[in-house]
Structure formats: C-alpha cells, structure tokens
C-alpha cells in the first residue's frame, strides 16, 4: 500500500476513534454527575438562625447540612480566658481572634475532630466541651487541649445578615 494511502487510512481511523471517545466521555459524565448534590440539596446548603433570644453564657445547637453547629454567646470572662491562652500550649495553635471575629459569638461545627462524635457542652477540664467517646477536651474557644483529637473544632463559613440573624454556609 502506498504511503499516501496509509496516511489517509490512519487519519480516518484516528479521527473516528477521537470523535468516538468524545461521545463516550459526554455520555459517561451525566452518569457520574447525577451523584453530586442535586438542586434540592444545594438549596438547603445554607441555614439562617435567629439568635435574638440567646443570652450570654448560653449555647444552642442547630442543624446545618446534616451536622450540629454550636452557637455560643460568650460572657466577658470567657472571652478573656479564650484570648489569654498561650499558643505554645495548643496542639493545634490558633488565636481566638481568628476563630471568633466577633468575640461574643462562637460559631463552630459541633463535631469532634477525632472520630466524629458530638462533644458535650460545659464539660471537661477546660471550661469548654468534652467528647465522651474517647476523652477529648476542648476549651472555651473550641480548641483541642487534651485527648486524641488532632485539630480544633471546625469554624464554618458564616456571617451576620443582621444583628439578630446568622447565616451559616
């Protein structure tokens, strides 16, 4: 077979394979994407919480994306205690100012970073939370102080849409 003919044949077959592959990919993508969060789930991606009745020294727990979120309105002593902790004492060093922009409000995911249990409020040796599953102690800023948990309780994205309402997510 002449070289020109071979080249043309190869081009035809290569082009066919290439175009075919595009089709296969375009067909597979919807089958994969359908498992991604659907529109009704995405619509519930953020939650607004009315905190007007929350007094200092109290914590509420709300559900966001299927997980508990602790919202604590801290007292002045609690804020000072949180701010005065030395970073060298922390397993996961993080300043309280970086966790609670508005120091009076602590908003964090109530999920222990060890294996996912929900820690108990106002328990433990650090005046914060205590996880009964494997004994992790968190302080009044939600930072891990003692126990097997590796990191501080996660701070989700949130903002005050007005003075009484926090929008999480």
């Amino acid at each position: 077979m002449s070289e020109k003919k071979t080249k043309r044949r190869d081009f035809l077959f290569t082009a066919t394979y290439a175009v075919g592959a595009v089709g296969v990919g375009a067909t597979i993508w919807p089958m994969i994407d359908q498992m991604n969060p659907d529109a009704s789930v995405k619509a519930l991606a953020s939650t607004e919480v009315d905190v007007s009745t929350l007094n200092p020294g109290k914590t509420i727990t709300v559900l966001w994306r299927g997980k508990p979120v602790f919202i604590r309105r801290r007292t002045q002593e609690e804020i000072e205690e949180a701010r005065s902790v030395k970073l060298e004492d922390l397993k996961d060093p993080q300043k309280d100012e970086d966790r609670a922009k508005n120091p009076e409000w602590l908003v964090m995911l109530g999920v222990c970073t060890h294996l996912g249990c929900v820690p108990l409020d106002q328990k433990g040796d650090y005046n914060g939370w205590f996880c009964p599953c494997h004994g992790s102690h968190y302080d009044i800023s939600g930072r891990i102080r003692k126990g097997p948990a590796p990191t501080n309780m996660e701070i989700p994205k949130y903002q005050f849409v007005d003075s009484n309402t926090i929008k999480i997510g």
Binding site: L12, A15, T16, V19, V22, G23, A26, A39, S40, A43
Partner: protein, 259 residues
C-alpha cells in the same frame, strides 16, 4: 425490499391513525403558535411571568403546584425572575414548619427552598371545598392530558351555553372541549380579570395562552436544555456516523464482496 417498504408504510399509517384518534374525541382544539414547540422551541420569558401571575391570582386558590419550589422561578430556562424577586415571592407566602422547641407546628414566611404552598391541606379538604371534585394539581397537568397545551388552552376558553335539551346538575358546567363536555369548574377567566404588571392587555385569550405557557414550563422545566442538548447530540451522531461509514468502507474494501 419492496415488501419491507410496504410493511413500513402500513406501520406508519397505523401508528398515525392511532395517535390521531387516541389524542382526544373528535373536537378540533383552538390553535395558536407556541414558542416552545419544535426542535428549536424556547419559552417566552415574559409570557411565563404573566402566566405565573395568572396562576397566582386566579388558579392557586384551588389548584396546588406541589412539585414546584420557589427557587425554580429563578432558575435557568424558566420565567427569569431574579433570585431576590423569587425570594420576595416566596416570602409573600406563609409556610408551615416545625415542630418547634415546644413541639408545636408554626408558620413562617416562605424561603426559596420551600415547595409551593398548597391551597388545601389534603385531597379530601380540596374535594369538600369544591363540590366533591378535586381540582387537580397542575405541576404536570399539561403532560397528564392527551391534548396537551392545545387542550388546556381551548378548555379555558371553551365555556358556552349547553346545547338545547341538555340539563346540567348544580355545580356542573358545559365546556366544549372538556372530555364528556361536563366540568365542575366554572368559567374562571374574563377580560381584564388580571392587571398584568408588564402592561399587556389581559383578554381571556391572552391569559389562557400565558397560563398554559407557564404550565408547559412547570411540566417540563428543562425543555430548553433538552432541545439544546438534542441538537448537539444529533449533530455529533451524524458526524460520527459519517466517519464510521467511511471507516467501514475502507475496511471492507479488503474483501472481494459487497457490504
């Protein structure tokens, strides 16, 4: 080959006859041009918004729209409300939520994620309030009737006096296009009933067309994506078919026979 063509024509004619005759009783529906018909059909956004207004002001007191969420009003391919407009629409309705910390149900303004509020709590309540007839949910109504959009459009304009000699019970009305001609919904539309926010004159025909367009969208919210994807799919398949055809010819040329 000839016989195959004969059989194919027989099949197509039989299918054609059965589709035509099964569509509805021998009534000719009123015709209008629908912008969403045909392979390149699209929705007229202004008509969808007007249709929503008709639904809200005229129909929603009896007919639910339970598979639609308020956020759908702002999504691509729909009436084209902005997110804040859709939010405001949602907030104008009271939605039941709960139980609260006291274990009680309560009402609150609607959110984008809520489904459209239903006029009655359940089917029985709807029947009781409407002389025993259940006003059907309208979300997929256009697909649930053999005559489709033409049927709904005609029915809304099809109220007239019953023919001589026909007596109707209390609460039953005569409609030219209703299957069986007797319907328990009275004529709902009259000229100027709704004041369109875009200033269009609200004749009965205009409102019928707009609300039917809206109902086509509620039944098939992804119609435009479907048409667009269809165009790409068919063009792609034709290209690939041509490539494969020539590949096939090339391969079979090695064999001394016809394909």
């Amino acid at each position: 080959m000839k016989n195959f063509i004969r059989i194919l024509s027989l099949t197509i004619s039989l299918v054609g006859i059965s589709l035509y005759s099964s569509a509805a009783e021998k009534v000719e529906y009123l015709k209008t041009d629908w912008t969403f018909k045909g392979p390149f059909g699209k929705f007229d956004r202004a008509a969808l918004q007007r249709g929503y207004q008709v639904y809200k002001e005229v129909c929603s007191s009896c007919h639910s729209m339970k598979y639609l969420s308020y956020r759908n009003l702002a999504e691509k391919g729909g009436p084209g409300f902005t997110e804040s407009q859709a939010k405001a629409i949602a907030a104008s309705f009271e939605v039941t939520d709960g139980p609260n910390e006291d274990g009680e149900m309560f009402t609150r303004p609607g959110k984008l994620s809520d489904k459209f509020v239903m006029p009655y709590d359940n089917v029985k309540a709807a029947q009781a309030a409407n002389g025993g007839a259940y006003p059907p949910d309208m979300t997929v109504l256009v697909k649930a009737r053999g005559g489709g959009v033409d049927y709904i459009y005609s029915l809304l304009q099809g109220y007239e006096d019953p023919p001589a000699g026909m007596t109707l019970d209390e609460g039953v009305y005569y409609n030219k296009y209703m299957y069986g001609n007797k319907i328990k919904m009275s004529n709902q539309l009259s000229d100027g009933l709704v004041e369109y926010s875009d200033g269009t004159t609200a004749t009965v025909e205009q409102m019928s067309k707009d609300v039917t367009t809206f109902l086509m969208w509620t039944a098939e919210p992804h119609l435009e994506s479907r048409h667009q994807m269809g165009f790409k799919a068919v063009v792609y398949l034709i290209i690939l078919t041509i490539l494969v055809y020539f590949s096939m010819k090339r391969i079979w040329s090695r064999v001394e026979t016809k394909v």
